[in-house]
Symmetry: C2
Subunit: 310 residues, 2 copies
């Protein structure tokens, strides 16, 4: 079974970029055209919003599928619409996979034993989109409960050629409160990072990159660079570029010299590019897809200029 990282890196090398586009639909910010069309078909508020989220996300996929290796739907925004939202999410994920994109479900799940297995079964389709109801190539997970609680996810990742991204150092301002607590010289996030790297050593021995990745925020350039060295076989998922303040220079340390080793996420900056003053003037409200394309090209160029290019 080709591993997750092999499949991801193949696309990264072909497209020569590690730009990852988050899919974060928000009702209040959608293009008028999407809102009008979804509303016209009627139904409950949740059904209307779910239809709009699906149409909007699929439009973004149409724009970016030939430009970037992967997309990252934010599960929370679909979950808040009830089962209708989950149906929309599922359709978006299937649509992205059919378009050839790697799909990283940003769900930040985590639980113990058989419950963790149930989450893995929900999300980790891996190589075969039919292997899970929500057909993700990879899933973000939370390790607070302990190393033993990661194992059911790792087992599923191994058997299905799927990937995981464990939260290590998150992009929010308060990330340090718990994650930086030091014990015997190591901070908590460093201990979590060591566990992640050890799982790659054990379950993907000899691979340049294993199936267990780490989430490390672009808002912490020093930690990002330190963690790149500390977890040499661990693929990184870097949120916080763009809207949250991280720059291309800030994320340069996430990459190996050959330009592999990380994907850099932008959500709002791409999804709602048509609301950015300069792009709004350039494209107007109707050509919002063109604004999204322009912002994607801009991000790719920015990364090529300031980080090692794959």
């Amino acid at each position: 079974m080709p591993g997750y990282s092999d499949r991801l890196n193949l696309r990264i090398k072909r497209l020569r970029t590690s730009a990852l586009v988050g899919l974060d639909p928000r009702w209040d910010w959608l293009p008028d055209e999407i809102v009008r069309s979804a509303t016209a078909s009627g139904g409950t508020t949740f059904e209307i919003q779910a239809r709009a989220f699906e149409a909007f996300s699929c439009s973004i996929i149409d724009v970016v599928a030939s430009l970037v290796p992967a997309v990252k739907p934010q599960v929370a925004f679909f979950e808040q619409l009830g089962p209708a939202g989950m149906t929309a999410l599922l359709n978006v994920m299937k649509y992205a996979r059919k378009a050839g994109l790697i799909v990283i479900a940003d769900a930040k799940r985590g639980d113990i034993g058989s419950t963790a297995s149930a989450y893995a079964d929900a999300w980790l389709a891996g190589e075969s989109p039919d292997a899970a109801p929500y057909p993700a190539d990879a899933l973000t997970i939370n390790a607070y409960l302990g190393k033993d609680t990661l194992q059911p996810f790792v087992d599923a990742a191994v058997s299905r050629g799927a990937g995981l991204y464990v939260l290590v150092r998150t992009s929010n301002p308060g990330a340090a409160v718990f994650q930086d607590r030091a014990s015997d010289g190591d901070k908590l996030f460093e201990t979590v990072a060591d566990v992640v790297q050890s799982l790659n050593n054990e379950f993907w021995p000899g691979d340049s990159y294993g199936g267990v990745g780490a989430v490390v925020g672009a808002t912490w350039p020093q930690e990002l660079s330190d963690l790149r060295s500390r977890m040499p076989n661990t693929p990184l998922l870097v949120p916080g570029y763009g809207s949250q303040g991280g720059t291309a220079a800030d994320v340069a340390g996430a990459f190996a010299e050959n330009g592999l080793g990380a994907v850099i996420n932008s959500s709002r900056g791409i999804n709602f590019a048509f609301r950015r003053d300069d792009l709004a003037s350039q494209f107007g409200p109707e050509k919002w897809r063109d604004a999204i394309a322009a912002a994607t090209h801009e991000m790719i160029a920015d990364l090529r200029e300031h980080t090692p290019t794959p």
Copy 2:
């Protein structure tokens, strides 16, 4: 708005028990009657299983609604069935609320900023079942990302009279790996506990119990007792009684002298009581509801004997 803890404690005092029944449906263990009926109606595998999970969970609710204050659906088991599973979960939660039960959604969610708000909007209905698509009175959450990421959940809990249970010291064997890392004399879970108590001090001042609870495993009696003193205004949710090895004596330290302050969860031990040798012989495969009732009465009696009775 009456707070979550007020509503919970009212039911605990009326029923004179803090027993919490987890709803953890598993396809392979369901009563034959449930499987046959769900299969006869046809549909996809997910639809059939979701229908069975709903029927089984609602049957448990019928049995326990007059005996215990609350139920705790495990979201992962429904999520693994795709959108059909989420519809079943929603129906189960509505059914439980109509039966007068407090509903604690065990979803262990957690994310940053507006994403955390979206999860709160998905789950935290609080006092009014119509205030969220999944009408939970309370939600389990994960604090690894930082204190700032709890705030959107706390804001929703305050405004809707809802509750939260933050993972503090979980019941799994490997819980200590990260949770017990000591820093300046305090273990990580103690630092998380202090944050939880501080949120209750700040947002529910003067209340015997605030809206932010803590999850502490029955498998760690000493920590449970220490945490009860450390978080005097924090309601506890104690998993791990029964199947995971925790006894009533182990959880006695979770309670204040008046018998309030904690709910003790049993999932498998109640849900699949009809598969326990002695109850299987006593009731046979058809009277599985009676076996569930017997196991519930047994748990309540066990708690009354070994812990302070509300």
